[in-house]
Symmetry: D2
Subunit: 406 residues, 4 copies
């Protein structure tokens, strides 16, 4: 009997060289030290964290994991190290592999709760985990520089831009992978062509004008994926309810936000169902008995967008606003939710088109238009239970006034 | 703001007609009564049950759910009702949608534990759930005949053969879907061609000889998917460990096997981690610290294969054998596992080739060869912990003698 | 032996129902009268006309034919007739099947030569062929109205908009098909979703705002495919040389432009190689010994763009300009070519977004940006042989002055 | 303006490194000396030779060229040279690129005519062309060894087995490419996995038993593609008619068979239409007014299969038989055709499974079954015009007797 270690398809004699089958790229070759890192508990946890959080409520096939995405980034990072000549390539590839390792369960959903209680982002947690003994023992053993790994992740190293920023392995992978698994057509991009087309000079990414369409297509794919998948309104509602349940859990001391990074989606779900303070909300999500949108506010409804974003960044403030709205509007049945989406940034592109020595965002009208369009799908939503919708929706002016008074 | 109900992409005015985006077939049209059934708690539970159980340990992308598969079967069943003229088409489509609704968490993995304690199969549980109030209230409301639904599932109705048997929506969907999500090439089949090519006469499925390659390709796809995905040796080991943990949980009264059908994968995992009798095993699986194969027995090693299959069907007997082996071999560290795979049946094909009026399995040498080949990938495996492997593997004759004495 | 008629995969007993296998849509069902029309000589000629003309010089896989595209349009037209309720559906489907039947060899390349000598477009020739006995005998036999077919093609019938205009079977098919066969990623669109999303009211196409991304993605796919495939600079040069050879053939009476519509690509190539007046040019194309770009003029280089387009529409005038440039610049080796591309129109969209009752082009900043961007990839090119390039390229001012004096 | 040479997408500064976009593999990297060879007239001719000859009569999308296939083989050969350590890698890759360069128009269709008049195969012509000045000047310039190229093609060099034999770049490419362009599902294979899984020792190809399914799937894909595509009965009829026309052309001295290798599909078609001795037949093919099958003979109908294959290899003898049949059967309208297909060989596999040190064909029942099945789709067909079919089909015994008397 041929003996294979777990999850591995081919083992070439002598060399420690294994292959993992990926739905997007086919066989991904893994050697040490990467293999050892993949086998850590910290990395394996990503297997149990859905890449798209609660999006499976809308797209039944969106069950792919953050581990798949991380392996995909690792695969693409190999195309970068094959093409370019630079220092610390192994550290670069580990940075690609681990840049998302600090994600809480359900990926981005829990992020603002974490931040409210710890003041830390998932990148901060990624750095922490990379410095912890489990992974550090491996990188030390192979004589690798942990600082460099972190520098790639934080872009202190130039090539870190190719891990996550704009035209990078993170984005190239998630657009393709999310499209494949949701069945949505817009994420189809040509990663191979893009990587072949770019050059790095003096710390900046350059690309020939000939490949303008390839670059534009990536920015547009992302623009189209946002309303269709990433900020689909049903998912936004579910996220609000989920965050509320999670906030209660942490507020009441049932769990510490610092512990999220050792939990899986399933751990979090089961905890939520065990405890009274989160049970109602999570059960409603599971039954897709979701809150309803009562009204939306567009950009122009706000006097001070900067203030809106200060609030958004402060989930505890958001909870107070929500409680205040419930009180002001005399809502009996359930809560009132307010949802402030990310500030849109589809048009930022610092890639320099070689022939003109100007950034893409100045040269491409299409990219410029993304700037004009980016607030198009943006709205702040107010949500309440079905029974309260009629009452709440009538109070639009009152709510607007209140929000602008904060 | 356009208001959409959850998980739905398009809502055409007036008609209650919705579309779900599927990774395999694109848009799947759903109308009532199917929509109401999909929205039941019983059906939504399938969302949280992985189609391929623990296979994600080998294929990181194998995270698709039994809900996706059930929707896929429903989609294909519409091609059947469009083509053929028969009675009770709505019941037929519901049968396609619900034929797997009785699956325990992790799909097939828990099946023999369920059987050991309840003497029931997942089909039995499917029938039970279809008869329960939640679904029956809906079918009654639409004047549908529950008995007919069950008759389609149990093949009492001729067209039930097209739900699950040989050339059926179940197999056409899972081959394509499992291939798509694992990234394994062998499951690529032409479902459309096959459905167009078949005819039903006198309760039997006929097909023109012209489409022989299409039929052969399905049987072969399945044959190739077995060792590569469905019975991959790593998955088999993990399944053994999982079943052991589950058996302990039920034996000790922590949970009843009848309750499995209201649980999700996550529910079961968290229960396993909570309780001492299952915690060790499930933790080892999660860390992929798996038992090792100590030896294999092939078909010819057994005097009485019939007896082997009597034992396989009796998980309590299997536990006793495992305990006896541990005792006989003086194994200290962990358990000894024995794994008896399904009896292979790749070559059974009752489809009749019209021109010859003979079944495919008689006409196609390729299909006949599957009969000869089907024991090829079959083996009974004995597993133990790494530290005990050397000792156990030396006792092959002793174990063989013991097994043949049972 | 099962007897099948040519090119057909499945023949269902009794019904005259056949299936053709298509690389994009799988099995396409064909019944009479469509089958008889497909079997005409006029339609079969499309088999030998490349959909993308000389683009195979850049994309080796771009060998798909106009017959494939026409069958694809026919397939999609069936989705339209299934969805909408309107008169003359058979005529509509024939219009979809035959809308390109008047194409000369190499599709669009020969179009301005045809026009120079006949004042007719490929649509005019399509109408002529549809009125000719070969096809008219069939439509008459089935009691179909030839006038209605022509009305659909010319948009006198409202539903003709769905054959070719903006969101139509022509565009939905060619974007997908050209992407598939060139290997270029940008043409991936969701035809199914778009057809499901649109409605027709009062002669106009409506679409829910929910599906904005689907509509935008089609316009953008087309925008990206233009510079990458349809107006790739190498193809433009080859087209110029080809047109010159063809012009000579017709000028010297070797062939009449009216005869193009009974010729295949191969017929035209062999004619070109047989006759001295075209042989040099076509041999150079085949050896990819192409003319070189000497300079480009952008939109702002022209005083009077309207005049430029009058000239473009008059290929005889273009030939005179080219001869004049050769004389003025004392070019000895070969010709001087001027290439004026189509006036760009990527941003035109009259589809009305239901919720706002406004056309897409007013609502979508992305579509608006296409208007701003559409001149981006536009340039008038001047080409000459390699040996003359240095000399010619120095005369930019002189040529500009000359062009603006016309 | 960025200047690109023809057919090339990306030109990286300094390095002479270009990329061609392929529909199957994406970007194919081409450097010198390969680039110069691709640019030869001899290689570019392959652009105008359909990979699947007349199969487009059945599969409208089967318009891909032998140039695409040759570039695909070149691409896969790079995976071989990356993996294995052996001498003369550049010669190996050129062998992969040029192994089909000696094909006559319409690929295999003309092969037996060529052989009848020249006693040479397409491999012989490939060798001739590789030795001719156009290509030899390039290989000499780069110090490459022409003999080695030929040795790889003729398998005198061990690694030549990986160019064309059994598990080789030729087969891996054509199965995938023909499936993609016909739309037939059976050719889907995992080339990457297979190349990763094989080893070469002592001149033989080895593979781990773990990858048995991957190997089996390739042999089966080929087996299924034969009746569905490669020997589809309609294509066989068209081939017979085409060969007849071609035979007449050569017999009457209109063209020499040696000249085929400088002709394209279009050249041959136009020649056939120009000359009376071929015009009728080729016009009938174009109008798909094809001969009809009057009867088939199976393997057991022949006393002496060896003799049948002697005849098959002698097209002049075939013509005499056809003329004799016409005479014997008093056929007035058109010819009588006899079609003897290739001797089937689907089951030959010398690949050695490492664990057992035995060839695949001994170990795999599936592969063994291909041996049993290989005569299944084999038949000698007798064809005549529709008007004569009734008469001819009655003479089965007479024809059988006659054929067995030869």
């Amino acid at each position: 009997m041929v003996s294979l270690s777990n999850h591995i398809l081919i083992y070439n004699n002598d060399m420690k060289e294994k292959f993992i089958k990926d739905s997007i790229y086919g066989l991904i070759k893994i050697t040490d030290p990467f293999l050892e890192i993949i086998d850590t508990e910290a990395f394996q946890r990503l297997r149990h964290i859905k890449q798209l959080g609660l999006s499976y409520l809308v797209y039944p096939s969106a069950n792919h994991s953050r581990l798949e995405h991380s392996l995909g980034c690792f695969y693409l990072s190999g195309k970068i190290t094959d093409k370019f000549d630079f220092q610390h390539k192994n550290e670069f590839r580990i940075a690609a592999l681990l840049h998302d390792i600090g994600h809480a369960p359900f990926s981005h959903v829990a992020e603002n709760i974490t931040k409210a209680f710890t003041q830390l982002t998932h990148e901060d947690f990624s750095k922490k985990i990379i410095g912890d003994a489990e992974i550090k023992n491996i990188t030390d053993k192979y004589g690798l520089n942990t600082e460099k790994i972190l520098d790639f992740i934080s872009h202190k190293e130039v090539f870190g831009q190719l891990i996550s920023s704009e035209i990078d392995v993170d984005r190239l992978d998630y657009l393709a992978r999310d499209a494949y698994h949701t069945g949505v057509a817009y994420g189809v991009i040509d990663a191979d062509l893009v990587i072949k087309a770019i050059e790095i000079k003096d710390g900046k990414i350059y690309c020939s004008g000939e490949q303008l369409p390839a670059l534009e297509s990536i920015l547009i794919a992302r623009y189209l994926m946002f309303p269709t998948v990433y900020t689909h309104h049903t998912v936004r509602i579910a996220n609000l309810m989920f965050q509320d349940a999670l906030y209660n859990l942490v507020s009441q001391g049932t769990i510490k936000a610092e512990e999220f990074i050792s939990m899986t989606d399933a751990d979090m779900l089961s905890l939520m169902k065990l405890h009274a303070e989160s049970r109602v909300m999570i059960t409603q999500i599971e039954k897709r008995n979701l809150y309803k949108m009562a009204m939306v506010f567009r950009k122009d409804d706000f006097n001070n967008l900067k203030r809106v974003y200060e609030l958004k960044d402060d989930y505890k403030a958001i909870q107070e606003i929500q409680n205040a709205l419930k009180r002001i509007l005399s809502v009996q049945d359930g809560k009132v939710f307010i949802d402030i989406p990310e500030k849109p940034s589809f048009a930022k592109s610092n890639i320099i088109i070689s022939e003109y020595n100007k950034p893409l965002e100045e040269l491409s009208p299409l990219v410029k238009s993304l700037k004009a369009a980016e607030w198009n799908h943006w709205y702040v939503g107010i949500y309440c239970s079905k029974t309260e919708r009629e009452k709440v929706s009538k109070a639009k002016d009152e709510i607007k006034k209140y929000l602008n008074s904060l």
